[in-house]
Structures are given as C-alpha cells and as structure tokens.
Amino acid sequence: MTYDLTFAKDVYQKAEMGHWIKMCMQCGVCAGSCPLRAHWQHSPRQLFQMVRAGKRDEVLKSSDMWMCTSCYNCIVRCPRELPITHIIHGLARYAETQGAADPKQPTRRFAVDVFWKNITATGRVGEAMLTMRLYFQDGIGAGIQRGLEMRDSALGMLKTRRLNPIPFRGKIKGYDGFTKMLAKAAELEQKLENKA
C-alpha cells in the first residue's frame, strides 16, 4: 500500500465535484442510506477518507464508484449537503481518465463501451441496440440467455411504448450542435486536468 500525499489535492482540483470531499465529517449517514451498500467494498464515507489519506491506487482501482445507481438517498440525507452521487460519478470519471479503472468492471464496461458509444453515434439512446450490445457483451450464448430472461419485461415496455424497437433510427436534428457540445465538454475536462 502506498500513500500518495498529492492524491487528495488532485481529486479536489481535477475530479468533478471532488472539492466537496473536504466538507465530509465522516458521520456515516451516506453508508447507512445506500440501498446497494452490501455490494460496495467501501462506502462513500470510506472512499472520501481514503482520498484524504492518499490511497490513490485503492480508490481509483476500486469498483465502488461504479456501483452507484444514482438513487440520491445519500444526497438527500447528507447533513453537510455534499452532492455525494455526483462526487461518486466524478471519482469514476477521474479513474477512467487516469486509465486506472478496472476495464472488466461491468458497470464501467457498460458506461464506457456501450452507452457512451451508443448515444454519441446518433445523439439519442437507441434502446434496441443498447440492450443488444449490453446482453451480448459476454458472448452470444450469454446474450441469448439474458434476452430470454428479460423477454416479458421487453414485451411490456414495447406495449407501453417505453422501448423503441427500431435498431437504426439515424441522427437527431442538430447533430452538429450536439457534437460541438461534446467537444466543448471535453475541452473543459482537459482544462481541469491541466490545472495545477
């Protein structure tokens, strides 16, 4: 285990919402409020303390921040109004930009390899392709099995028009503007990265 004394400073300055970690008073309400806490190795409170303690590798390689489902329970209850959900996503993104995130982490694979590619290709979520890519991530056999398991849900969503079955729907209107927004966001992120 290595302690990295520059890690906290990096997170405060370069991770989105990272500076909020300074405000944590280690009360533990976030951990007790998280419905998925049993699946996290470290609670948000512990992650924040690990950032302060300079445990760079342990934090960035952790799968914890990829487990967040954005239920916002922790944000609502945090006595010091830390935007915990956003901090957790900021840490995940920071781990990704640092190349430290575990490439096999399932949520990371979905977010980076499937979801991001899907939405940036056309400017909208193509639900049919998104689902297929997700299901077939681990091979054809696994994909067919998951598809069958989820068949009833899929049919229900189709019926209530919550799922568009057309795989290729083309680009949104104003796709150029959309890509410009993404470029601007990437530029801002780079600025943050170059800071200090």
Partner: protein, 419 residues
C-alpha cells in the same frame, strides 16, 4: 405610570426561564425596578421541565425555588404571566413597550386549593408533559409551580362547564369571562431571554418520530423520567408500557445538519449521558447505546463523560444513524454504518431517544418586535436589545446564568446612563 425619572430605571426582562429569572433578581437586588414578562402560566421555563440538571444531577425544583423566593421577597420585581411583548419602540434608555396580558381566568386570589380541578371533568392533553397524558382543563402544572395560581384553558373557558367549575371556588377566584388586557410601559433596557424550544422531531423523517410509538425525544424523556411526568417517573415505552431497558440515544438528531438545524446545541451530548444515567439507575440490568458523530462534553464536564465511559452498561457507536424502522414486535430498529469498522448495523431497541437540538424561540414564535433588533441566520438575537441565555446562543444552565448576570449588568448600565 410613575414619573420619567423612575421609569428610566425599569428594566424589562422578557422570558421567565432560568435566564430571565436570573437577570430579574440580579438587577432588582442591585436596586433597579424589573418587569418580568412570561408567556406561560408559570415561571421556570424549560428548566422546570427537566428531571435533573447539571452538573450535580440535582432536581431543578431546588434551584428554581431559591429564585422564586428572591422574587417573592423583592418588591422591585413585578412579574406578568401569560403575557407577551407585542411591540417595542424607542431606543436604549428610553423604550416604550406594549404588552399583551392574556387571560388566566383565575385571579390572584387563588389559594391553590385544587377544588376546581377536582370538580372539572374536562380533560386536555398536558402541554407541560408534551401531550403524553391528559390533565384537567383547570390546573397548575405541578406541585412546585410558581406562581401557584391555577389557570384555565382558553377553549374550556368558553364552555358552560367552565361556569359550573367557577362556582366550586371557595374564594370566587375563577372568572371564565376574563379578557386580555394591553399594558404600555416605559423602560430603560430590554433583556430578551425567550430561550428555546425542542426542534420538531417530526421533521426528521428518516427517524420516524410521530410514526413509531417507541421513538421519542430527549425533552419527552425528561418528563418520562420525572415523578410528575406521565408515568410518575417510570421509564417505560409508550407503545405497551413495557420497561424500557434497552435504550438508544441518537445524537445530533436534526442538529449539525443543513436539512434541519445547522448548528450544534452544545448540551445534547451531556444531556444524553445524563439520561443514560436515568436508565442505568432505574434498571441495573439495562443496556444503553449512544450513537454519536463526535462527543462534545463542553468545558468543565469532561469528568462526566469519563464517568459515563466507566459504566459497562453504556456502549458507544460512532455513527450518525441513517434511518429507523420498526420490527414486528414494535421495537425500533436503528440502521447505519459503524464508522470505526465500516460495518453496517441494524439494531433493535425497546426505546429510541432522539437527542434533538435547541431552536431559539426568537426564530419561531418570539421574534423581537423591534425595528432596531437584529437576529442571526438561525434566529438568535444579536443586537438592538440585550439577549440572555439561549436567546443569544445554545448553551447549558450554568452558562445561561452567567450570560443572564452579564445582561443584568448591561441593562443596569443602560438604566444608569438614562439617569
């Protein structure tokens, strides 16, 4: 009204709790006239509701009784109960105040014999015990209440039954048709000592107060442990009257929390340690758990913390619980993360006591009705009038008394300047 010279020497003290009582007697015993205004039927305020108080864990009746004697024996102190200050104008040395005196429906001729209470059949929730029991619609709060005159609930006074009760009085002191009066006074100084109220625990939704019978608050617990309380001092749980032997105290319940009260009330840690002692004294086989973020045993009270730590029947959990649920047996289950080990817990108790903080009355129902007054973001009084005790900041009884004495000095200063 007296002449201008004498009027300049009167000090108005608003609030008849431990701070207001202290300012009043200190200023009066120095030779100044004091008008003490209290909104409740009796003096004593929040302290009178406590079972025991710091640092010696004696009954507050004792400390209050000494102050009541000093008031009784001092002709310079006038006190008004059931009275509220509606408006203040002027400036230091020369204020005009308008006071509304609400009807007591019982005159000062009352001897406190209790005949009326015996005759009265109407009962109401007892505000002195936070509504945990029913009391007669005409009564005084407890045997040591001062002044000892009875008082009648305003709603009851409107009824026909009130007239019947009035007839039972051997000295004719009951007047159900009594009306509010407005009093105007000239005073040299105003000391605001309106104290605090317990923060409304129902607002802390994840803890389920109001939803689960066996989740209570620290002030209710004081009454529960008190011999004049709803259970005559027996510590039992509200749902089924079972002895509460496994008790949890949750610190910072709605305190140091931007969703509720953002500040620390400074007394709740020690109050819970004191209340843990109530449980441990009553049931030797009891188990108390105190949930805390960090302990704040202010200044001279470190020794009390040590004493509590030495008791093997009291355990500590460094954690602000996330929520409370109820199991099938009506036990509140406290859920959260032990921040020393990182483990999650879900622990059942007989009774959970929320250590709620102090909300200054001046933030809610006793704002200073004076254009020149200033209050901070939380409602504590910062200027324009003199603020004593918990109207100035959240604090314990001993510090309130110190603060109140200091304000008596400042008020005297204002009166002397006025001449």
């Amino acid at each position: 009204m007296a002449d201008a010279h004498a009027a300049g020497q009167t000090i108005l003290v608003v609030g008849g709790g431990i701070s207001g009582l202290t300012t009043a007697v200190e200023a009066a015993e120095t030779g100044y006239n004091v008008l003490l205004v209290e909104k409740d039927p009796h003096l004593g305020g929040r302290v009178a509701q406590h079972n025991k108080y710091f640092p010696k864990l004696c009954s507050p009746t004792c400390g209050l009784e000494i102050n009541y004697q000093r008031i009784k024996n001092n002709p310079r102190i006038r006190y008004l109960t059931l009275a509220e200050v509606e408006e203040i104008s002027g400036s230091e040395g020369n204020y005009t105040v308008r006071i509304r005196k609400n009807p007591r429906f019982v005159t000062e001729a009352c001897t406190g014999c209790g005949d009326c209470s015996a005759v009265c059949t109407t009962e109401v929730p007892d505000p002195f015990n936070f509504g945990m029991n029913q009391v007669k619609a005409i009564r005084n709060n407890h045997a040591m209440a001062f002044p000892s005159w009875y008082y009648m609930d305003p709603e009851f006074a409107k009824t026909e039954a009130a007239k019947t009760v009035a007839k039972s009085c051997p000295v004719g002191a009951i007047q159900p048709d009594m009306e509010a009066t407005i009093i105007e006074e000239q005073v040299a100084a105003v000391v605001w000592a309106t104290g605090w109220k317990p923060y409304d625990a129902e607002k802390i939704r994840p803890y389920g107060f109001g939803q689960y019978a066996n989740v209570t608050t620290n002030m209710r617990f004081e009454r529960l442990a008190n011999v004049y309380g709803p259970t005559s001092g027996k510590i039992v749980r509200p749902s089924d009257g079972k002895e509460a032997k496994k008790v949890a105290f949750i610190q910072c319940a709605g305190s140091r929390d931007h969703n509720y009260l953002p500040f620390c009330s400074r007394v709740c840690c020690l109050a819970s340690m004191k209340q843990a002692a109530y449980v441990r004294d009553q049931y030797p086989d009891s188990e108390v758990t105190i949930f805390y973020i960090d302990l704040r045993a202010m200044d001279r009270y470190e020794a009390f913390l040590q004493k509590t730590r030495d008791d093997a029947g009291i355990s500590w959990m460094k954690s602000k619980p996330a929520r409370i649920e109820e199991d099938a047996n009506g036990n509140p289950v406290v859920i959260g993360e032990n921040t020393l080990t990182g483990e999650r817990y879900a622990l059942p108790f007989d009774l959970v006591v929320l250590a709620t903080g102090m909300e200054p009355h001046s933030a809610v129902d006793a704002k200073v009705p004076f254009a020149g007054a200033s209050q901070d973001d939380y409602g504590f009084v910062t200027g324009g009038v003199l603020a004593a005790g918990c109207a100035a900041m959240p604090t314990d009884v001993a510090s309130s008394v110190q603060s109140a004495t200091a304000m008596a000095m400042k008020a005297i200063h204002a009166a002397v300047k006025r001449g």
